[in-house]
Assembly symmetry: C2
Homo-oligomer: 522 residues x 2
């Protein structure tokens, strides 16, 4: 029997598999894992004060690092607290490993206070891979298989439930990494069939998502679009979109179904490239859920597990698209804004100042509508979206992205209501001295719900309904909140103040928050 | 067909069933429920900025109101965010109804961003009653059955999943309330069997919990204890314990198994009264999980669904206990503390100042060990504990208790690390002008984990392990955080300052927070 315990074997196996960052919010049942961290120098431990921070950070990390991090969570309630951002990570199809501590195997029968059914909760976010380790000697192998599952294209959340005695007992065995499957090559007859549709002479749209949204896939997609005058569209909420001057500009499908239908009007062929056929975010009375226009044929070029960029290049070749035919975004930046501080003014300031290689974590919701427009011609950057609709993702994702890429500046565009789900992320940014600048849009409401309340066709809202969508009374002071968590913060009430504060924050190292007082909505 | 929609029928049915308070954190799929609130004046809507606040508040409300509130949550991620405090509510066995909005029935097939498997998550916290409403006409009946399920003794969390179209469609029907079953009378032969053990002359312990912890049950238990010199013990983390001068004093079983074993040492009979046979909170290497001493026989007098107080009175009669035999706590209060600000000094200040009829929400964890001691002889009050071990319960429970009982002062004894899971509760306290005074013990660490790290037998912690249990670097400024959420806050660094600030806060209306700077632990 080896002289290391299960926890040590687990951590060493994770490191051997290329997983060297742990976003943790541990409790007593995870204490041996915590103690074992000091025996494996390669594994970094990053504390979050809430599980929604740890899980969202692991998501942001994976989007930038292109490899998984591991989370450390405390039994069923800890997994529950992480569930919203794990939901977003599942929809983002990022690789991630959750380690969820559990009671010792022999202790579960006693139904102690923290006992609950962890596996069923885990299936909500890890439908593809959930395992409860039963034997210390097999824990290393379980971990290697969890990493391989997480890294199986396009990527997924894998959950390993770790009973305390499996973790603390001696006899741990470091396992050899398990190679995940490679992406599949899209068959030639699929390429040919799509090529035929694309060259039909009828109006064509390319809807690109997932792995198609990096430089290689985007360049190939833009070649195709130029060759056949296809409309080049992007899924509404990409996990990571490379953009900026020198890259093809793609138009994101609108959140509101009416507008998305307008973007696709007249199409006879819609080619899906690692994207789903568009559906509305929510259902509304008397509005369609399925948004593909009538008479438009849907073709699938590639799905998540495929070599998506390769398929786009094959299609470009098949239709004889010019190698240098891709239209790219010219460099251009808006002027620094002056006058009233509006969401559009903030977007202009961000567009004017965005540093080369920046990462934008976008949870601005209604306040962020024009941000993509004003940043389209800025230096190259990455845009990270709220992939699963579970708000409270922006600050944690920004945190994890900054851990993954300390060489890049992260800008979090953050709505007020959403910020309050996982505001504790700022503390981790302060502790780890992460280069994250948060622009907090304070409009003192759940603005999107004011809009949706009208859209769903509910009767005109009375005072009780309005009160449940309102974040004033009392007003929230985000500067005070941020400082309380150790992050320097300022408040901007004019466009000029915002521009000044943003310019300054972008050259200072470490985190900062700017509370932008924007007009209320609704 | 009626002219009200499903949401209106649902809310009117809830009101008819005695449920008139809704703790809400809604999204788009719940907008018709929100709009319908204004059509039913009897239903109050209370906004929480996070689902852990809404669910914890519903728990605290039920503990004080002795009837359920309803929560309003947004799909699977909203339920996930509420899961930790729903876990605590499940362990507290309080009545509660969750309404979880879902996509329209016909929209689910499209796997939109917020689609997930809600029912499996709901089973974690509502094992006894989960239903997805399918028809508007039946929604009222579903609601009435949910309330009856929630109110089935001893109480439970019932979850009603509400598809948006079932909510918005016309044809809603207000249902007649469904009477929940009454508590069962404990059979005479059970009483006789327990009476025989109690009168055996051998050492007896009474372990009381749940419904036995109110005045009537406690008085009967104390009569029995006095008649046969039994040890009177209380479960470790009661949902609601009535105590103070004039009530029997019961000794809570210790959190640490070693101490609990000491409290039960020598017992030959342990009578369980709506309490479980004691087990350790966590498992530890080489320590027992099951804590009943060897050679001690366990007898069950009453369980959750029984007429628990009635069974205790029957037992008291059966053994001929004197009607006035109960020993009660004499009135006594500690002096106001001076000198260093320690957790014990805080306990003394609370004991000295606790108002008549106060409610104490106790999530002080390691900092709160002596608080029960120093408050035992204060005026009558209720003590609410962290029932399920999922931290982040204290501030929400205090919030809900204050909503239920505006005539009483609520004191939240709150550990720093735990506070950060659901700190948003303070905003709801400010908005609703609730009489909650929070004493925040800032020891700048997860102190309990420093203790547990040693207890689990892990190797001496290295710098990485210590860092994951440490809340300094940066230090958190809870005064700033509280003010940011609209709650007046002060900081105390000496026992005299704490006493002064507490005395002042207890006479002011509305919420207040006192950040008590106590020495670090570990």
């Amino acid at each position: 029997m080896s002289d290391i315990n299960g926890a040590q074997a687990l951590i060493r196996t994770l490191v051997a598999c290329g997983v060297d960052t742990c976003f943790a919010n541990p409790g007593t049942s995870e204490m041996h894992f915590v103690a074992a961290l000091d025996t494996v120098p390669e594994m970094r431990g990053v504390l979050g004060l809430f599980e929604g921070v740890a899980t969202g950070a692991a998501d942001g990390y994976a989007r930038l690092a292109e490899r998984p991090a591991v989370t450390l969570l405390h039994l069923g309630p800890g997994l529950g607290n992480g569930l919203a951002n794990l939901h977003n990570a599942r929809k983002a199809r990022v690789p991630m490993i959750n380690v969820v501590g559990d009671h010792a195997t022999y202790h579960k029968q006693y139904d102690a206070q923290l006992e609950s059914d962890i596996e069923t909760v885990a299936h909500n976010v890890s439908p593809g891979w959930v395992r409860t380790s039963q034997y210390t000697a097999e824990l290393g192998r379980d971990a290697a298989e969890a990493v391989a599952a997480a890294r199986t294209p396009p990527g997924q959340v894998a959950t390993l439930i770790l009973p305390a005695d499996v973790s603390w007992s001696p006899g741990g065995d470091v396992a050899t990494p398990v190679e995940p499957p490679a992406r599949s090559t899209v068959p030639a007859d699929t390429i040919d069939a799509v090529a035929k549709a694309v060259r039909s002479g009828e109006p064509v749209g390319l809807l690109v998502g997932g792995a198609a949204l990096r430089q290689r896939g985007l360049m190939a997609a833009a070649r195709i679009a130029a060759a056949v005058q296809a409309r080049l569209l992007c899924e509404t909420f990409p996990a990571r979109l490379e953009r900026g001057a020198g890259l093809p500009a793609v138009e994101r499908l609108a959140y509101l179904g009416e507008f998305a239908l307008g973007q696709m009007a007249g199409l006879r062929h819609l080619v899906l490239v690692d994207a789903k056929a568009p559906v509305s975010f929510f259902a509304y009375p008397d509005k369609p859920s399925y948004l593909v226009p009538e008479g438009c044929e849907v073709h699938v070029l590639a799905t998540g597990g495929d070599d998506v960029a390769g398929a786009l290049e094959d299609l470009a070749e098949a239709i004889g698209a010019a190698a240098d035919g891709a239209a790219v975004q010219p460099a251009s930046r808006p002027a620094l804004p002056t006058g009233e501080l509006t969401p559009d003014a903030i977007a202009q300031a961000v567009g004017a100042l965005l540093p080369e290689g920046a990462v934008v974590a976008d949870e601005a919701n209604t306040s962020g509508l024009t941000a993509p427009l004003h940043t389209a011609g800025a230096s190259r950057h990455d845009w990270l979206c709220l992939t699963g609709g579970a708000i409270g993702q922006g600050l944690p994702v920004a945190t994890g992205a900054a851990v993954a890429r300390p060489d890049r500046k992260v800008i979090a565009l953050q709505a007020d209501g959403s910020a309050l789900y996982t505001f504790q992320a700022l503390w981790t940014q302060a502790r780890e001295a992460l280069d994250v600048v948060t622009v907090l849009y304070n409009n003192r409401s759940y603005a999107i719900l004011n809009m949706e309340l009208n859209r769903v066709g509910a009767e005109p809202p009375g005072p009780k309904a309005r009160s449940l969508l309102d974040l004033s009374d009392p007003n929230i002071d985000f500067v005070s909140m941020a400082r309380g968590l150790g992050v320097p913060a300022t408040r901007a009430t004019t466009a000029a103040e915002l521009s000044d504060q943003l310019a300054r924050a972008l050259v200072e190292p470490g985190p900062a928050l700017i509370e932008a007082m924007v007009p209320g909505f609704g």
